[in-house]
Subunit: 126 residues, 2 copies
DNA sequence: TGAACATATGAATATACATTCATATATGAT
DNA sequence: ATCATATATGAATGTATATTCATATGTTCA
């Protein structure tokens, strides 16, 4: 069935509030930036990585120690450290056989902090 | 081959820097809280959801308009809104057939803002 | 009551990704 | 040079999840 001109807007083809949609559309940051933002938060969306970041907030650590701390395999930790490094959240230095990782972003603490604030707020409310 | 007593600590079974590991272990928040924090950030780790949140930062919107804005199906948006609602990031009100969604967390703006700051900083540096 | 419509939802599918396993690389010690 | 060790990495696997599709629910209007 074809929509006639001046018919009541259908949801599938038209917006109900076209003015709102147009205004919001103009204000949205560009798509690529939003994709990068999503990828950034995705990094924090894993318990193992959160733990690694919090651990490094305390002090630099080698792969081996992180694996020991979290009771996980060296390989798993190494893979995750690569993710964190690709996201520019950690950096590393090599000392002989040992590779030490440390934070490379001064915002990590605040970001995780805000997440925890949200949780506490939410847990209190319900 | 069995490790003898007093042998040099092996990475797989022992930590290299036991003191550091022990100190960090004491300072780590409890496991459940970290899991919730990870789940919280996971919600931000999706481009569609980031867009929805940013849109709602501007004004409340109905499902239909959000679908129109993002050029996605009503069903996909509805599913994502449920995720956002379960995370207490959005709330809704019903007006006849139409359901309007709006933000339910005053931190959303700052959290996404920090993500974008990180991206810009990173993109500048390389 | 029945038709049109806005939204919600369960199942299916396709894709992303975390961990494991096996192995490669690099460094230090003997 | 050989061996032990610390880390990195590619492939495989299992699990999580984003979207689609079909359909259910709830509301308005005639």
């Amino acid at each position: 069935m074809i929509n006639e001109k001046n018919s009541i807007p259908l949801c599938e083809s038209n917006c109900i509030h076209e003015d709102v949609v147009n205004r919001v559309k103009e204000n949205l940051p560009d798509d690529e930036l939003l994709g990068e933002a999503a990828d950034f938060f995705k990094v924090f969306g894993d318990k193992t990585r959160i733990k690694i970041l919090l651990a490094l907030l305390d002090s630099e650590m080698c792969v081996c120690d992180i694996a020991c701390l979290l009771d996980m395999s060296q390989s798993a930790i190494s893979h995750q450290l690569r993710v964190l490094k690709n996201s520019n959240l950690v950096k590393n230095r090599k000392d002989g056989k040992v590779v030490y990782y440390s934070l490379d972003d001064e915002h990590v603490k605040e970001i995780i902090g805000q997440g925890i604030v949200h949780i506490r707020h939410k847990n209190r409310g319900e």
